[in-house]
């Protein structure tokens, strides 16, 4: 399957035509998917700007009758709203920073460095992803809270706690979040498909593993790191089940938990829920727009990295 086995043919007019057709097909695919992708959020926006009683009423393309009442409801009902936003931002940023660094380091080691028990550890990592979270919830909660063995392990007069006692603190959400199997798996696979030449050159120059990693590997894997950062931030921001269990006081809530208030037991006020979900989505969209520039830049840097 090497390149040389492919048949040779000259570049001619028909190739240019073919190229046009090819581009046309690609554009068609992209535009079709664009319409599909925008539709749900567009409708969400439209109906979040309509009164509650019009949650299913046409017109569906334009918010008439128009109202901002749903957004006002969200902002005014809970004076803790700004706190929830700040909590969410803090937790998501800290989780993202640590997780990206830790996952990149571990992923690099799994991809490039030989060390004992590597295969076993990597297989454990994969298996841990396969165990459904519903049943690991209780033990994880015990560890972050009072401990698997209540009261700790006693060794004579010394008591070793088996839990972190971090319930109702942001750290109870952050700590388990910084080590993630998915991220390590992803970075490992990325680094495996990375060209080795640059690293080898750096190693020859005498920079050790650490120097090579921080000076060469991290900078050239910018795209991958940003991808992981974005996915991590998004995951941390939207995380629901774990913060719900760990955070108890309303002033410690994150945004998704606070917004859940608007889902009633017997019926749901859809217009408000839609407005709330846009509130929840907006920060990630902004971050994605900011990231965009770096994506473009890193494409350029990928081009030049072969030197």
């Amino acid at each position: 399957m090497t390149v040389s086995s492919l048949s040779r043919s000259g570049v001619n007019q028909s190739a240019i035509l073919l190229d046009r057709i090819r581009k046309g097909i690609f554009y068609a695919i992209l535009i079709f998917w664009t319409v599909l992708s925008v539709a749900p959020l567009y409708f969400t926006l439209v109906f979040s700007l309509k009164p509650i009683a019009d949650a299913y009423t046409p017109p569906i393309w334009w918010p008439t009758p128009f109202t901002l009442a749903n957004y006002e409801t969200i902002l005014k009902t809970f004076d803790l709203f700004p706190r929830w936003v700040i909590n969410s931002v803090n937790i998501s940023i800290i989780v993202t920073l640590f997780r990206v660094l830790f996952c990149a380091m571990a992923g690099y080691a799994f991809a490039r460095i030989e060390f004992p028990l590597k295969k076993l550890l990597f297989n454990l990592l994969l298996i841990s992803m396969m165990m459904p979270g519903v049943v690991t919830l209780i033990p994880s909660f015990l560890i972050i809270g009072p401990g698997l063995i209540r009261g700790g392990i006693s060794l004579g007069s010394l008591t070793i706690p088996t839990g972190f006692n971090l319930i109702d603190t942001p750290w109870g959400v952050i700590l388990p979040g910084v080590a993630d199997a998915f991220g390590v798996f992803m970075m490992t696979q990325f680094y495996k498909s990375f060209p080795k030449e640059l690293e080898e050159a750096a190693m020859m120059d005498g920079s050790g593993r650490w120097g090579t990693f921080f000076r060469i590997v991290l900078p050239i894997s910018q795209t991958q790191l940003l991808t992981l950062a974005l996915l991590t931030f998004q995951g941390a921001w939207n995380n629901f089940m774990w913060p719900l269990l760990v955070l108890r006081s309303p002033e410690n809530f994150t945004l998704p938990i606070g917004l859940q208030w608007f889902r009633g037991e017997y019926y749901t006020l859809y217009s408000v829920v839609l407005a709330g979900s846009l509130f929840n989505t907006l920060p990630i969209l902004i971050i994605f727009f900011v990231f965009q520039r770096y994506f473009i830049r890193s494409i350029a840097s990928t081009g030049s990295k072969e030197g």
Binding site: S37, A179, P195, T223, Q224, F295
Partner: protein, 296 residues
């Protein structure tokens, strides 16, 4: 000579562990210990209110005696994986590949494609309930009058469609990052050799992407076998159990039923883990030939 090699090996091993350790320590404390504890619970009878009682294989016996598991959850889960994984993988690869062409408005497309993925699964599920409600937007546009989520014939497919729709953005990003690893000089060489676009895609892009494809498919298989949030929010396993999957059944036993069966739920979780493991190994063999999972 031999001494210096082994010394280098040792220093590599130390380096390896230093690189892994920040992640490994936290991972061990939370994931590995939790995993082992869940395995322990699978051999107990545990209602969350009293300490777990050892009951050996009873939990597993009950799992394989359970009608809902055998006739609904198990087949539903496989159906879900078999339909969703290939579709979302191919779709996201095609989207990423289209995006990687030197087309105009790339930036705009990329942002837009990511839109379905940014919202949490809980929120997007709520939006989909609303869109697919009998009076909802979908019926209004298509002029149909189907109660999508209340009909055993359609509910599961709506959830599948939603999952493909929402995950393809994320997977596309991952593919895109992988595609950008492929050095332009390889493409240039192929072009000089006269390879056409289709040939380039199958003989260069796909092989170069193998680690990333393995990642996407593995994550996809794991995610689909564990599909839960969407079902929890949208249908709660109904109508007439048509959307009950293994993970939903685990949740039902672990928290929803009046009498809590955490031990039995954990046993089913272990069974599910073994199923996923088997499928992953099999799928790895298919993608990359034989060898253990860690090799590539």
């Amino acid at each position: 000579m031999a001494v210096s090699i082994s010394r280098r090996k040792i220093s590599e091993a130390i380096n390896g562990y230093l690189f892994v350790s920040p992640w490994l320590i936290i991972f061990t404390i939370f994931s590995i210990v939790s995993l082992l504890y869940a395995v322990y619970l699978s051999f107990t009878s545990y209602n969350l209110l009293k300490p777990p009682q050892w009951w050996g294989l009873d939990g597993y016996r009950r799992v394989f005696d359970d009608d809902l598991f055998l006739t609904k959850a198990l087949p539903n889960t496989f159906k879900y994986v078999i339909i969703v994984v290939p579709l979302q993988t191919i779709l996201s690869l095609v989207l990423a590949f289209a995006m990687d062409q030197k087309l105009r408005f790339r930036r705009l497309f990329r942002t837009v494609f990511y839109l379905p993925s940014v919202t949490s699964s809980v929120v997007i599920s709520l939006i989909f309930i609303w869109i697919f409600a009998p009076q909802g937007i979908f019926n209004q546009i298509t002029r149909l009058s189907i109660n999508w989520l209340d009909d055993p014939r359609t509910a599961f497919y709506v959830i599948m469609g939603m999952n493909i729709f929402t995950t393809s953005g994320t997977l596309m990003l991952i593919f895109l990052a992988g595609l950008q690893d492929i050095s332009p000089s390889i493409y240039e060489a192929a072009q000089i050799d006269g390879a056409n676009a289709v040939q380039t895609f199958f003989y260069i892009t796909i092989p170069m992407l193998r680690p990333v494809i393995f990642f996407v498919v593995t994550v996809g298989v794991i995610g689909c076998f564990q599909v839960f949030d969407q079902i929890f929010v949208m249908t709660a396993g109904g109508p007439l159990d048509s959307t009950t999957t293994i993970t939903y059944l685990i949740y039902k036993w672990a928290f929803r039923d009046t009498t809590i069966k955490m031990g039995q739920a954990s046993a089913l979780a272990v069974v599910l883990t073994l199923i996923i493991l088997a499928v992953t190994v099999l799928q790895r063999r298919m993608i990359e030939g034989s060898g253990s999972m860690a090799e590539r």
